[in-house]
Symmetry: C2
Subunit: 421 residues, 2 copies
C-alpha cells in the first residue's frame, strides 16, 4: 500500500498548508480563523476528488458525505483541523486525513456501503483561542450555551460571535448545527496518542476505553503586601510562602493515590498569578489553577478532598485566607464497549497489535459519546510529544490507523456488518 502511504503524506501536507512537516515554529491554526478556513478548504478539495459531497454546517464543521440511501443511518469518522499556538500538524489533522484515506481505500476496493458514511472535520477543537474546547462537536451535540459563549473573547478582544462573522458564519443560526438522534448511528475518531504508552509497549493501535475529564480548582491565597526590606519575618502575611506547600502537596498526593490505588490520576498546578509581583513587595495575593484528570471520578474527588483539608491546615498556621473554587468538575466519559470489542477484533483480523488505553486529553468524540455509540482509536506519536512543533507520527502508523478505520467502516456501513457482531 505504498501509494496510500504517499497519498496520506501528501494530504497531510495539504491540510497543513505546507511543503514539509518540519516547521520550526510548528503550526498556529486556531479555531475560526482564516488559517483554519484555508485548511478546511483543502479538506473539501480532497473530499471532492474522492467523489464525496461536501457541506459546511452552521457551526463551521466540514462534512464529506458518501451518501447511498437517504433513509439509511450515518456512520461517521473524523477529527479536527485547528491547532494550538505553535502546535503540531498531527493533533487532529492525522484523524481527518486517515478518515479520508479510509474512504479512498474502500473506494479502491470497490466497497459498496449500505449505510451513509461521513467524514467530519470539526471546527475549533482546541481551547487555545477562546478557553473553550470542542466548539464544533459540542454544537452538533447541542451542548453549547449560545448566549453565554457569544461574548467570549480571544486575546485580541475578538468575541466568538465576531469570529463567526469573520468566517461568514451566522452566530444566530448556530443551533441549526445540532443533529437529531436519528441522523447519526455511530462515530469513531482517530487521534495521535499524545502519550508514550503505545510507543513503550510497541503496540500499533490503542483502543480507548474512557476519556478523562478535567476537574479544575482555582486556589487563592490572600495575605497582605508590604515592603520586603522593612517587614520582619514574623509580621508577614506572605501569600506565596503560604501557598507554596500546596503546590508540593498536590504532586505528592497525586503520586500517592496513583501508587496506593493503581488508578491513572494526574494533577498539575499549571498557572500561577502573583500580585503585585514586584521585586520589593511581599506577595499579597497568589492564584493557582489546578488541572486534575482521571478516568476515575472517585480518584479525582479524593484528591480534591485531600487538597481542601490541607488548605484548611495551611490557613490555620498562616495569616492568610485560602479559598478553593471549583471551576470545572466533569465526569469521565466511558466509550461504547461493543465498538471497543469490534475495533480490537479488527486489529487482530488485519494483523495489528492493539491495547486498551485511557485518554488523558479530551477529544471531539467525548461530546458525541454522550448521545451516540462512539469509539476512539489512538496511533503512536514520537516520545508522546504533542502541542509542540516537534510533534510527529510515522506515515506507517497513519496507514495502520487508516486500515483500522476502513475496516470499521466496511463492517459497520456495509453488508457484512452483521456477520461480525
Amino acid at each position: 500500500m505504498q501509494h496510500l502511504t504517499t497519498w496520506i503524506e501528501e494530504k497531510l501536507l495539504q491540510v497543513n498548508l505546507v511543503n514539509t512537516m518540519d516547521q520550526a515554529e510548528g503550526f498556529s491554526r486556531l479555531g475560526y480563523t482564516k488559517e483554519e478556513q484555508a485548511s478546511q478548504e483543502q479538506f473539501r478539495y480532497i473530499a471532492k476528488d474522492l467523489g464525496l459531497q461536501t457541506y459546511q454546517d452552521a457551526a463551521g464543521n466540514q462534512w464529506a458525505l458518501w451518501k447511498v440511501d437517504e433513509a439509511a443511518g450515518w456512520i461517521a469518522t473524523g477529527s479536527h483541523l485547528d491547532t494550538v499556538y505553535n502546535g503540531g500538524g498531527y493533533d487532529g489533522a492525522a484523524g481527518v486525513v486517515a478518515s479520508l484515506a479510509a474512504v479512498k481505500l474502500l473506494k479502491e476496493q470497490s466497497f459498496q456501503p449500505t449505510k451513509n458514511i461521513a467524514v467530519i472535520a470539526f471546527a475549533c477543537e482546541e481551547s487555545a483561542r477562546f478557553n473553550v474546547s470542542t466548539i464544533g462537536s459540542k454544537a452538533i451535540c447541542g451542548l453549547l450555551d449560545k448566549d453565554k459563549l457569544a461574548s467570549l473573547e480571544d486575546s485580541s478582544g475578538i468575541t466568538l460571535k465576531k469570529a463567526f462573522t469573520n468566517c461568514d458564519l451566522d452566530w444566530e443560526l448556530l443551533h441549526e448545527a445540532r443533529l437529531e438522534d436519528h441522523q447519526l448511528e455511530q462515530f469513531v475518531e482517530l487521534h495521535i496518542e499524545q502519550a508514550k504508552k503505545l510507543e513503550k509497549s510497541k503496540r500499533d493501535i490503542g483502543i480507548v476505553q474512557a476519556i478523562a475529564q478535567p476537574t479544575r480548582l482555582r486556589i487563592t491565597s490572600v495575605g497582605k503586601t508590604n515592603h520586603t526590606g522593612t517587614t520582619p519575618m514574623d509580621e508577614r502575611q506572605d501569600a506565596l510562602v503560604a501557598i507554596a506547600p500546596i503546590i508540593s502537596f498536590i504532586e505528592e498526593t497525586t503520586v500517592d493515590i496513583n501508587q496506593q490505588q493503581n488508578v491513572p490520576l494526574v494533577a498539575t498546578v499549571s498557572t500561577i498569578q502573583n500580585s503585585p509581583n514586584a521585586i520589593s513587595m511581599i506577595p499579597g495575593e497568589v492564584v493557582l489553577v489546578v488541572d486534575i484528570r482521571s478516568t476515575n471520578a472517585q480518584a479525582k474527588h479524593e484528591l480534591v478532598s485531600r487538597i481542601n483539608n490541607f488548605a484548611l491546615a495551611v490557613q490555620r498556621d498562616r495569616p492568610v485566607v485560602i479559598t478553593i473554587q471549583t471551576l470545572v468538575d466533569d465526569e469521565p466519559i466511558q466509550l461504547d464497549a461493543s465498538i471497543q470489542a469490534k475495533l480490537t477484533h479488527i486489529c487482530e483480523k488485519i494483523g495489528l497489535s492493539s491495547m486498551p488505553l485511557d485518554s488523558g486529553a479530551g477529544h471531539d468524540v467525548m461530546n458525541l459519546a454522550k448521545r451516540w455509540p462512539c469509539g476512539l482509536v489512538f496511533i503512536p506519536c514520537r516520545d508522546g510529544v504533542s502541542h509542540n512543533p516537534s510533534e510527529h507520527a510515522d506515515s506507517e502508523d497513519l496507514l495502520k490507523g487508516t486500515r483500522v478505520l476502513a475496516e470499521y467502516l466496511r463492517e459497520t456501513a456495509g453488508n457484512d456488518y452483521s456477520s461480525l457482531e
Copy 2:
C-alpha cells in the same frame, strides 16, 4: 509650637499637591515626571518664602540654600519628593517638609549659622519607574554609570535620557551634579520608619545605625512543558513542582537564622514567572526573584549559601535544571557613629525618647554615607504601612522630627557645635 505643626501640615499638603492627605488612590508622583516637577516647584516656593536661595542641579535635585559664608562648609538635610505608584504622601515628603520646618524654626529663633545650610529634595528616589533607585542622590555622589542608564526604559518605553529631556534637563550634563568632597560636611535625612518598631516600643525617634542593602537572586528552574492530561506523574519535568520547596525553604531558613543568631535578616520570593502558564500545560520554566536584606552581610551570605545547597539537592532529586544568578549583592551601609551619638544626645536634651534602629529599606542617605559623615532619623508611621495610600504619620511626630533636625543644625552649623562634642 502649634503654629509650626499647622505650618508643617499645610506644607505637606502643598508639596503633595492636594487639599487633604486622605487620597483613596494615594499618590503617584514618579521620578522625572511633570508630577514630581510640580511638587519640586512648590518646594521652591516654600523655600523662597523662608528666605532661602533655590537651585536645581544637573540631576534635577532641588537645593534650598541658607548661605552665610562662601568659604564655610555645608551641612545638609533633606529627602525626596517622588513616590511609587499609588504610594503615600509621607515617604520622602515628610523628610523634605521637616527639613524646611527646621530652617523655619531656626529662623524664628534668630539662629545665626556659621556654616552654610542646605535642604535637598532629591530627584527620583524610588525605583518604581526605572527599576533603579536614588538616581538624584547617586548623581551628586558620582555613583551613576551615565552610558548604562541612558537607555533604561519605563513601562511606557520612555528612556531615562528622554525623561530628562522632558524635564528640561540635559542628560549629557548629568556629571555636573557631582559634588566635590569639600562641598559638603555632613548630611542627615529624616524619613518615616516604614516599620513598626517605634510604634511598638512607643519611642519618638529612631536613630539609624545601619541600612540594609539587598542581595538579589534569580532562581530559574527549567524542566519541560507537556500536556497536563496525557503526561503520567512519573514522566514529568515540572519546573514549578521542583521549585516550590525552594520558596518554603527560603522562608524557613531565614526565620531560623533570625532565631539562631538574633540578626535582623529578611528574605522574600517577591516575583515568580511561570511559563507557559496555560491551563493544560505542565510548567516548563519558572523564574523566581529573591530579595534578601540585612544590615549583617554575613547573615545574607549564609542564607545564600544554604539556598545554593538546597537547590543542588532539589536538582539531584528532580529532572530539572536549577540555576541561581546573583543580580545584586550590596554591602550594608554603616552610618556615622558620632552623628548617631549626637542625635541621641539631642533627643535626650529636648525631651524625646529615642532608640537605635536599622533600616530595612534603602534611602538617599546611603549614597551620601559613602563619601560624607551621615545620619538618618526615623519617625513613626501608622502600623508601619508604607508604599500604600493608607500610609500616615502624625503631625506631632513630624514636629518632633523637625525639632531634632533643627537642634542638629543648630549644633552642627552654629557656634555651639563644639560645646556639644
